[in-house]
Amino acid sequence: MIAGLGLAALWLAAALAALQLYAGAMAQRDGGGAAAALVRPAAVVQGLACAFAFVMLLWLFAVTDLSVKLVATNSHSAKPLIYKLTGAWGNHEGSMLLWVAVMALSGSLIALVERRLPERTMLATLAAQAFVGLGFYAFLIFSSNPFERLPQPPAEGLGLNPLLQDIGLALHPPTLYFGYVGLSVAFSFAVGALLTRQVTPEFARVMRPWVLGAWVFLTLGITAGSYWAYYELGWGGWWFWDPVENASLMPWLAATALLHSASVLAARDALRAWTIMLGVVAFSMSMLGTFLVRSGILTSVHAFAVDPQRGAFILVLLALYIGGALALFALRAGSVSEGQRFAATSREGALVFNNVMLSAILAIVLLGTLYPLLTEAFDVRVSVGPPYFNPVGAIFAVPMLLVMAVGPLLRWRRDSIARIQRPVVLIGVILLAAAAAALAIGGVDLLPLLGLALSAALALASLMPLRRRRLHRVPLSVWGMVVAHFGLAVAVFGMASETAFSDERLAAVAPGETVRVGPWSVTLAEVLPNAGPNWTAIEGHLVASYRDGDPVALDPQSRSFWAPVQETTESALATRWNGQLYAVVGTAGDVGAVTEGDVRRWQLRLWWKPFVTFIWYGGILVALGSALALVGRVAADVKRRTVRARAAERRAEVIE
């Protein structure tokens, strides 16, 4: 019954998307009329229908309706309720439905409130959005139906992958999907603007909140995902250059570039074709990521719901949307005039430079991710990892960070270095001082050294746009930029510090023994069994003290889940302001402990990671900065609109 309602709502949403596309396309030809009036209402109802379908899926998971295949294969009645609910999107079908539901709801929002662009452009945009949505509906209904029933309901469900039974999962994938969806809206605006030849500053201003919103969510999603992998996988690493991680990083890089080029277009009417292309590329990267993850075409630690059949379906969608949009771009870009010119030494100049750097990093990540695919076609197996990504990425990231420090100090259109000489010299001095300090500490490799120096310089530089201004009069969007740039400096510092100064200690320890790692001494007090609702574990009780200070208890576990059967390591962390102690006990391979006589020894892995937490604090600051910018921009738009409406009212009164 519930499943039936959900499926019916999904079909209804698909039908409405078809109507929205048809009416939007007709409106382009005859310039309005009856068809045009249908587009916005269709978009609104489509969003509601799709959201309803998703709520039905949540319900099925909440009550563990085992007659539904998706519930039976991914849930279990003994699971805590919160993980029953998050399990609704912790699988292929449910996550696709969540994505489509959010996409349809944003379509509703645009249809309801966005009236700044010419109506023809808006209808084209909504038609493009319906076109994208239609493909996803077809994918869901014909190849990944979340509401599929089983003829014979099993007695019990198979359970959710234990790695995913974690609150991190409740946050991480949905935030990324919100980000992807924001980019799909930007994509639709880009297509709409190209189709109706309306690549204007106004278009950039309308698109910008969606890119900013997408950027907030992508940043949070990547930050949460990184932290989740860090504490859940028990490897002590925070980024592995795994294809799936890259799949989330690439849209972020494209969105970062898009955000900045859209700002240039909005403020200065320049970079028209480039902004449009980034709008197409950003969403393409989201789709590409989905394809890589779901098709299983690349081997990844995250690969889930791997199915070549579905892969083929997504590939067709990719060909249709990305191919279509890029073809449209190639045909129309020539007719998009170049826009305003500007000098190299100017705000625009710096933004263009960093746009190119970001695109280069994007290209490098893309190449590294797809390279194994390419060589496998010639029967050569390769794995591309940090030795490629780190140095090659740094070639472009280092100049980007340097220009990023100086760019915000420059004026629009034309400026001279001489005018900003003093702050630039100050930034340079800080850069060299930080590098010298890192060298003095010693044992720091080149890349972390550069990271430490650049982060110090960027942290200072990012605050400079505030100097000689009254802080309470600084617009919110400038605060957003300052906070986001500062956040990046904080994150880079965390990455560099973790790489440069981490201390690792591996030991086979008997209870009562003490191990030293960095400034910490860690004693294994005892190892005891423990149990949860659907797992059993051995739990190490560690007592750690920092420079012989107060003892801190750490209880890392090695868990065995029984539905499905899987071993996981639950790391334990002791967080200080200046870093984290990371402890893992037990299983490395099959043998996690060994007995000799009456002494039992346990495998213990300890890391002291100075300032590692700054990576994620920085990520949160970046997201906060973009959220501030988003609020600032939207508030300014609303204000402008009300002022205009009042002026119009007053004019009307005068005429009377």
Binding site: V281, F329, L373, A377, A508, A588, G589, E596
Partner: protein
Amino acid sequence: MRWWWIPLLLFALFLGVAAYQLNQPKDDFVPSAMIGEPLPAFDLPPALDGVPGVSSADFRDGKPRLLNIWASWCVPCIAEAPQLERLREEGAEIVGVAIRDRPEDVAAFLDRYGNPYTRIGADDLSQVQLAIGSSGVPETFVIDGEGRITHQHIGDIRAEHVPRLLEELRKAGR
């Protein structure tokens, strides 16, 4: 042709490769690429006083040997120790490479679990380990008399693995 056709062309290239790859059978088994390869050149200092270090030249004297990647901090290595002892009793010469270890820990380990090794090198940065294609500890390689890798055993050696390793060692001696 203008630059704006380039993204479309690159995308078409990707589509072609991806479509081709999707239709290829998926095979996740990766055989060791090091079988049949000579040992990479290395020269490791001794892991503790009184024991010789290890260099790749030591393996080119015509005698096949086992190369055991291990560490004192590694619990599976403790489980493996009796099997190494048995291999040694059966006449295998075992050369050890200690990964990211400390001399005092190595000494304590050998005191406690016995020393099956003729030589022990210290690989403090896992350089040799990575160069010979080992991703974990312990791992054991069979090296023939010309310093060529003929077999790779991943994980700890259990009692049931001993005959296979002896067999590989005999084959490498021929």
